[in-house]
């Protein structure tokens, strides 16, 4: 039932293999958000990723931010929505707003 349940196994596997890993999680949504709270995206240091936090709309931006998180170890809270010019450009066009927490797995 947990959205993206197997992604946590992937995150553990990648981290144990010595890859830099970040875990992104949808923590809040407003309006018609494409993915429910608790959805995960797992990203490695080379920008490979599994899962989704928005069904494709903002994954690119999250993956880019994840590289920073992997590099400096500090978590980030990202927000995407129609009011946000950047988010509009990357295309959360469903009219919703989401907040994504990105943390390093180490």
């Amino acid at each position: 039932m947990t959205p993206g349940a197997d992604l946590l196994s992937i995150a553990e596997e990648w981290a144990r293999a010595g890859r830099g890993v970040a875990l992104a999680t949808v923590v809040e949504t407003w309006g018609s958000a494409p993915r429910p709270v608790g959805s995960h995206l797992v990203i490695d240091g080379d920008g490979r990723f599994e899962g989704s936090v928005s069904g494709g709309c903002v994954e690119g931006a999250v993956v880019a931010e994840a590289a920073e998180v992997i590099a400096d170890g500090a978590p980030r809270m990202l927000e995407f929505g129609v009011a946000d010019e950047t988010a509009w450009r990357v295309g959360l066009s469903c009219g919703g707003r989401i907040r994504v927490f990105v943390e390093k797995v180490a």
Binding site: M1, L8, E12, L23, V37, P75, M77, F101, E103, K104
Partner: protein, 228 residues
């Protein structure tokens, strides 16, 4: 997330145990909670476990993200009967993994239950492998004490979140006596829902299946509301 915490979480998920990851926002300090008793966020964690939903909570002047990891609910039924034929696809649609146990091979046929996990075995043979647990609903539907009784006892012992049994009040009174003789406590026997299903005037097997499934969902989502 620390790798040790992630490993502990994955181990809990693999063994069908509930757990909640508590993350302080925005700092990211984290802990894994398997037993909420005594936790500063006990009420919030219990609510997350009950609903199975993750979300942000505000408490003690701080914001926390609770990630609820609750095993997928399962339903185990004794009796490859007419009601089960309707119940199995309905329960699957609601998200339950369904298994049906009936040693009577005339009933337990794949023609009657296409695509269903069907075990044509006695409960004492098959139930250990099914590993009943607190995230499993159990319904006894055979009307045959030789099949239903041992399974009911096993379901009560395993702490299944829902235990229901088909039959009238009179039938159930006799069943209570038998299960008590088999070692079930009064407290455990009070957990058996009988007559089974919400009282909606269900007439056909499919309607009875609706009544059972609705009662199961209520037991899952509102465990604090016990039927009188």
């Amino acid at each position: 997330m620390r790798l040790e915490l992630l490993a502990e979480l994955n181990a809990a998920r693999a063994s069908r145990r509930a757990a909640v990851v508590v993350t302080e926002l925005p700092g990211g300090a984290q802990r894994l909670v398997r037993d909420p008793a005594g936790d500063p966020l006990e009420a919030e964690i219990r609510a997350a476990l009950r609903s199975g939903r993750s979300g942000v909570v505000e408490a003690h002047g701080a914001r926390w993200f609770l990630t609820a990891h609750v095993p997928a609910p399962r339903m185990v039924v004794t009796g490859a009967v007419h009601i089960s034929q309707a119940l199995a696809p309905m329960a699957a649609a609601v998200g339950f993994a369904v298994a049906i146990v009936d040693p009577r091979t005339a009933f337990a046929t794949s023609e009657r239950f296409p695509g269903v996990d069907l075990r044509a075995e006695w409960p004492d043979v098959v139930l250990p492998g099914l590993a009943l647990d607190p995230f499993t609903a159990f319904a006894a539907l055979t009307h045959d004490p030789k099949i239903d009784d041992p399974a009911l006892k096993a379901a009560l012992d395993a702490g299944c979140f829902y235990v229901g049994a088909l039959g009238s009040r009179k039938t159930h009174a006799a069943r209570r006596d038998r299960l008590a003789a088999a070692g079930a406590s009064e407290e455990a026997l009070d957990r058996v829902r009988a007559p089974i299903g919400l009282s909606i005037g269900a007439a056909s097997p499919a309607e009875i299946a609706v009544a059972i499934l609705a009662e199961v969902v209520a037991a899952l989502r509102r465990p604090e509301e016990r039927r009188a």
